[in-house]
């Protein structure tokens, strides 16, 4: 069951796992940033295990999280309402 609900404010964990060998689908540029849950996408196999041929029996909830561009980039030149939506797995999110 998804832990977060649509509209809830969340922060992406500011974790920097050593590499290699690591495979994760959380881009560097979004770690530590705060956004809002846009939708719950379903439960999926953990890519961090799948990449090494291991299947975790428990699937992870996947969300699309919406961030304000102005919150991400200090020098952002676009409109104040510009957004970016990113898919992020639940193990990378925390409540604010």
């Amino acid at each position: 069951m998804p832990q977060f609900t649509v509209g809830e404010k969340v922060r992406v964990l500011s974790q920097w796992p050593p590499s290699p060998p690591i495979h994760c689908r959380t881009p560097y540029y979004i770690r530590g940033c705060s956004g809002v849950i846009e939708r719950y996408c379903g439960d999926f196999a953990n890519p961090e295990e799948l990449a090494f041929g291991r299947v975790d029996p428990i699937n992870l909830s996947l969300y699309r999280v919406r961030f304000k561009q102005l919150d991400l980039w200090k020098s952002y030149q676009g409109g104040i309402s510009d957004m970016i939506d990113i898919e992020i797995y639940e193990n990378w999110l925390e409540k604010i």
Binding site: R25, T26, P27, Y29, I30, C41, G42, F44, P47, L62, R64, Q69, L72, W73, Y76, Q77, G78, G79, S81, D82, M83, I84, D85, I86, E87, I88, Y89
Partner: protein
């Protein structure tokens, strides 16, 4: 050298001035090529799959072209009930066109007067290949992937697309299990056109969101 003399010398035999041969692209065995060949031959030897099945699959993959997506977009412009289905349940709507999108999930992003959507996969090259075919080279380039998330309006301008500041630019980073298809706005001036006439207007780049559709 003028164009004329450059052209003329192509027709003259000049032993001291031969053109270099175009390099072949398939004359070296890289690590991954060797691994692919080894796995493929093992699978065939063990009778798990046949060479014919592999060939068929490649042929099927190569048959996927952006025109498939254009037909879906054109139908959604002329058939509002289809558009409603496409936005609510893309998988089901697209299955009506005979496209099997496999285990992945598709999200259709509707462009409006208020929002312009653009898709990127910053981590690799995730792309709705079942309906658009292979992604263009620029989509996989480091430059596009790194810049479109932080200066999308500048990148769009380089594609000839100007989005006014009062319209939201919404970037979608396809980082995991979702795939994205942009539903562009129907262009002004296309009101009297039929579904079949609309299809050729809708290019691949508009369905990624780096351009808008024009008549």
């Amino acid at each position: 050298m003028t164009e004329t003399s450059d052209h003329e010398h192509l027709h003259q035999y000049d032993p001291g001035h031969e053109h270099p041969l175009q390099a072949d692209q398939d004359d070296s065995i890289t690590y991954f090529k060797a691994m692919e060949a080894a796995v493929r031959n093992l699978l065939i030897e063990k009778k798990l799959i046949t060479a014919e099945q592999i060939r068929e699959k490649i042929e099927q993959m190569d048959a996927r072209v952006p025109a498939n997506g254009a037909k879906i977009i054109a139908k959604s412009w002329v058939d509002l009930e289809f558009k409603r289905k496409l936005l609510a349940n893309p998988r089901k709507a697209i299955e009506e066109f005979g496209h099997d999108i496999g285990p992945l999930h598709l999200i259709v992003l509707e462009n409006t007067e208020k929002v312009h959507n653009v898709v990127v996969c910053t981590l690799c090259s995730c792309y709705p290949r079942w309906i658009l075919g292979l992604p263009p080279d620029w989509y996989k380039s480091r430059e596009y992937r790194s810049r479109v998330v932080r200066e999308p309006r500048e990148v769009l301008q380089e594609f000839g697309t100007n989005i006014s500041l009062d319209r939201e630019v919404r970037v979608h980073d396809s980082t995991a299990d979702m795939r994205y298809l942009v539903l562009p706005m129907r262009p002004k001036g296309s009101e009297g056109m039929t579904e079949d006439e609309l299809v050729p207007l809708i290019g691949r780049d508009a369905m990624i969101g780096v351009t808008e559709v024009k008549v």
